[in-house]
């Protein structure tokens, strides 16, 4: 059975495998669609809406939508770019993102997207919400001011029985991601580091491991996020 699927992103022909999502197929074909809550190896959940695209005048998230023969995807168009930039700005104002003092600065995906979209100042007013920092865990600091609620830690950091170390708490604009106190105490070094790497921003910090790369050597200092994909 032929499992190859052809479709188009912004007029460019994409060859994909059946069952792939649009983001995966785009990546394999050298087309970058910005993502934030999507993480390779984890089931997608369109939380951040960053990878929104348009198909036949409908907005879809490309991390959750499977490829289909002949579909025409619009991605890099002014309207959608403005939405994506708007999301970055929303995430900036709805948290407290003090980049100059953040351990993740230079390696932060949210910041990198802001660079890519040339965000000079968010269009929305800064909310300066009151959020806490949970440093009670021996290995991990959970910095709620920086959390963008992307679910990557919830989906990715689990024990052998599939129980999550992290989970949501509350709903709406009171939503938080919290670390399980008891399980967190037993977390291995490897998993704690994985949690930090998993976090797109500086909300999960492995203790005593900050600012270890000099400015200029960090992931997004020289090249924009996505440039490793784009042909």
């Amino acid at each position: 059975m032929n499992t190859t699927i052809k479709f188009k992103i912004d007029g460019r022909e994409i060859i994909a495998e059946k069952g792939q999502t649009i983001v995966e197929a785009a990546k394999a074909n050298g087309v970058y669609i910005p993502t934030l809550c999507n993480f390779e190896g984890l089931p997608p959940k369109g939380c951040c809406r960053m990878c929104t695209i348009r198909i036949s005048n409908r907005y879809m998230t490309s991390c959750t939508t499977p490829v289909a023969e002949g579909m025409e995807v619009e991605s890099d168009i002014p309207e959608i770019t403005d939405f994506r930039k708007g999301i970055v700005e929303l995430l900036f104002v709805s948290g407290n993102h003090f980049c100059p003092a953040c351990e993740k600065s230079g390696n932060c995906e949210l910041q990198a997207l802001a660079y890519r979209f040339k965000m000079m100042v968010p269009r929305f007013p800064f909310l300066f919400p009151q959020k806490g920092i949970d440093a009670t865990n021996p290995k991990i600091i959970k910095e709620q001011n920086r959390c963008i609620l992307c679910k990557r830690c919830i989906k990715g950091i689990k024990d052998d029985e599939g129980r999550s170390y992290f989970a949501y708490k509350n709903r709406g604009n009171k939503l938080e991601v919290v670390l399980d106190e008891k399980m967190g105490k037993e977390i291995t070094d490897a998993l704690a580091r994985k949690a930090m790497d998993n976090c797109p921003v500086g909300s999960i910090i492995y203790k005593e491991l900050g600012y270890y790369q000099p400015i200029g050597k960090r992931k997004y200092d020289k090249k924009p996020i996505g440039s490793e994909i784009e042909i």
């Binding site: 997608p44 959940k45 369109g46 939380c47 951040c48 809406r49 960053m50 929104t52 907005y59 998230t61 959750t64 939508t65 499977p66 939405f83 708007g86 999301i87 929303l90 995430l91 104002v93 709805s94 269009r123 929305f124 007013p125 909310l127 963008i148 609620l149 024990d159 029985e161 129980r163 999550s164 170390y165 992290f166 989970a167 949501y168 708490k169 509350n170 709903r171 709406g172 604009n173 009171k174 939503l175 919290v178 670390l179 399980d180 106190e181 008891k182 399980m183």
Partner: protein, 626 residues
């Protein structure tokens, strides 16, 4: 205590998918879920503690801290606010000796605000320990609280008569009124219960039943309007060990209460609809997702289901049809509007927070526990019974070409006769206004807060305006000149919520602000857009209402409202509609507030911003540094 929790979890086979039931049972016992309970649940259910906490903290009727002996959930819908909600709230605070959002010192009363509880025609109303108290006034509140203080139970405190019809059934005993104002075919009193299942199903194959429903062009009555026959067809198509029929009784759109009346007066019709749907689609699992606000109907509905089982209308070989096995369980929600969205409802049924799923896959492919699942609205199911009995052609005799049949309207607000009206599709807003005895009408909100406000001025270029493509209405606020518009899928589609506002109402300050509060409160928070934007937009509207608005603020609101359209579910996508549609169509209301000449206003007030420092250091600031 440990034993009690274990008894509860054992009752549900330690199944994490039954977490909602487990938590409801724990609340019935202790009123909240303690740290120790969570620890125990975590062990029994094989979940981490934060995962359990995730479900608890999502739902409005669950609590992590002790609540009162009596917990009063006062509804804050716009129509309740128009009928003295604020006075009732104040009276409650005074009588109970505590403020909203907290428990009185003696632990007797907990006071909480809650979104629409489906009593818009008899508000302000409140739920007290699962009992509903309607038409509250300050006098009634005093009396009620005094009764509770004197040792009466909420049930005994229903000092006034219980409502009409089944509201006075011993299994219900609610101070709720049906207010049925107009009956046609669905609300027809003379029907023979379970006639279709007993005698008609046998003569038809499942495919034939689907054909009848498809031919009738019945569309989902919850508001989205998806063709019901097609949904059944899709559900049947997928190979699976089990198939699921869900009755969506999470009627949460502010202003709707028709499902409450159907469940009170015609539960048999709704359940019969589920059995028919099960027969047609080959489903064996039936679930009713009943919103917690309607818990007072829980016993009554279960009683009906028991009767059905006894009469062979549920269980094995239903109505003598071999291999037709189907049963229904009622699952209670716990207070979350978003659970009315079918995939969020399914998540909740599985014991999780009610977060909508990404589509595809659709529930008809992968729904409850990954089985193909058909979610139908209460009214839709009731309607299918009539269709199967009388045939598609009969059904086509009602309504208009694109919108067949009748529709139950929930009418509330500024009118003499709020209540339920069964009308044919194609009825105009003017006719609804006349039926309900409303006068001096300024606007009619069709379809609840997620609707769009439409006024006189913009109506002509409605279809052509560039902006309108963003605001596909799921409902609308209609202004006077356009009251001749008709309820139908092509003109004014609606799930049935009709709220009437007279000329004394301030549409922005009262109505739009109330709707925005609703969306902020009810967002699940999953999407970056719907979690943050309604709050930010409401702040901006407040700025305008406070007299600090400039023209750019209006443009900003319009442009920000576009971003929200990329949210995952209908709640998110429509959560800016109250503001956006009111700007598009009642722009003059905004223009009245903004400063015409200024291009910048910061709201910033220097005097005010130094007040805290002034008082702490004990002097007045000198302003002379520039």
């Amino acid at each position: 205590m440990k034993n009690e929790i274990i008894t509860i979890t054992s009752k549900y086979q330690d199944d994490r998918h039954r977490l909602m039931d487990i938590l409801i049972d724990i609340h019935d016992l202790y009123g909240y879920v303690s740290e120790a309970d969570i620890e125990l649940l975590s062990e029994r259910l094989g979940m981490s503690e934060v995962e359990i906490n995730e479900t608890i903290t999502f739902y409005h009727f669950f609590s992590r801290t002790p609540r009162g002996q009596f917990n009063i959930f006062l509804n804050n819908s716009i129509t309740a606010c128009m009928r003295g909600h604020d006075l009732v709230k104040k009276a409650l605070e005074e009588a109970c000796g505590t403020t909203f959002g907290s428990v009185s010192q003696d632990g007797m009363f907990g006071l909480y605000s809650t979104s629409c509880i489906g009593m818009n025609d008899q508000g302000p109303s409140a739920i007290i320990n699962d009992k509903v108290f309607t038409n509250l006034t300050t006098y009634r509140v005093m009396k009620l609280v005094a009764d509770l203080k004197s040792g009466k139970s909420p049930d005994e405190a229903i000092y006034e008569s219980t409502g009409d019809g089944n509201n006075s059934d011993p299994y219900v005993r609610a101070m709720v009124f049906n207010n049925i104002r107009k009956r046609m075919v669905i609300l027809d009193k003379d029907h023979i219960k379970f006639e279709v299942v007993r005698s008609l199903l046998k003569g038809h194959s499942p495919e034939e039943i689907i054909d009848i429903v498809e031919n009738s062009n019945l569309r989902g009555r919850g508001g989205a309007g998806f063709p019901t026959g097609l949904k059944w067809h899709f559900g049947r198509r997928v190979e699976s060990e089990h198939r699921v029929i869900i009755c969506n009784a999470d009627e949460g759109e502010p202003g709707t209460f028709k499902d409450r009346v159907l469940l009170t007066e015609f539960p048999d019709l709704v359940f019969e609809g589920m059995v028919i749907a099960a027969y047609a689609t080959g489903a064996d699992i039936g679930l009713v997702y009943l919103r917690y606000e309607y818990r007072y109907l829980y016993k009554f509905l279960n009683h009906i289901l028991d009767k059905m089982r006894k009469e062979g209308l549920l269980g094995k070989n239903i109505a003598g049809i071999k291999e037709f096995n189907f049963d229904i369980r009622i699952q209670l929600g716990a207070g979350a509007y978003v659970c009315g969205e079918e995939s969020a409802l399914i998540e909740s049924l599985e014991g999780k927070r009610g977060e909508p799923r990404d589509k595809p896959p659709f529930p008809v492919e992968k729904g409850y526990l990954n089985y193909p699942t058909i979610v139908n609205n209460v009214e839709t199911l009731a309607t299918t019974v009539r269709i199967v009995k009388n045939g598609a052609d009969w059904f086509k005799g009602f309504g208009t070409k694109d919108s067949l049949g009748t529709k139950l309207l929930s009418v509330s607000g500024d009118c003499k006769f709020p209540g339920i009206y069964e009308v044919e599709w194609g009825t105009s807003i003017r006719e609804v206004i006349e039926m309900s005895g409303a006068d001096d009408v300024q606007a009619v909100q069709v379809g609840g807060p997620s609707g769009v406000m439409i006024s006189v001025k913009d109506i002509d270029d409605l279809g052509t305006t560039e902006l309108m493509k963003w605001y596909k209405p799921s409902g609308m606020m209609v202004a006077q000149k356009t009251f001749d518009r008709k309820l139908s899928y092509s003109d004014l589609p609606t799930g049935g919520s009709i709220m009437i506002f007279n000329n004394k109402r301030d549409l922005l300050k009262e109505v739009v602000m109330n709707f925005m509060d609703f969306f902020i409160e009810e967002s699940c928070g999953s999407c970056s857009t719907c979690r943050n934007l309604p709050f930010i937009m409401k702040q901006k509207l407040q700025k305008i209402l406070d007299g600090h608005g400039v023209r750019k603020d209006i443009d900003d609101l319009l442009s920000w409202g576009k971003i929200i359209k990329i949210s995952r579910c209908g709640l998110g996508q429509t959560s800016a509609n109250p503001i956006v549609s009111s700007i598009l169509n009642f722009r003059y209301l905004y223009e009245q507030h903004v400063k015409a000449m200024a291009d910048f206003d910061n709201v910033f007030d220097l005097e005010k911003s130094v007040e805290a420092a002034n008082s702490f250091v004990g002097r007045k600031a000198n302003f002379h540094h520039a």
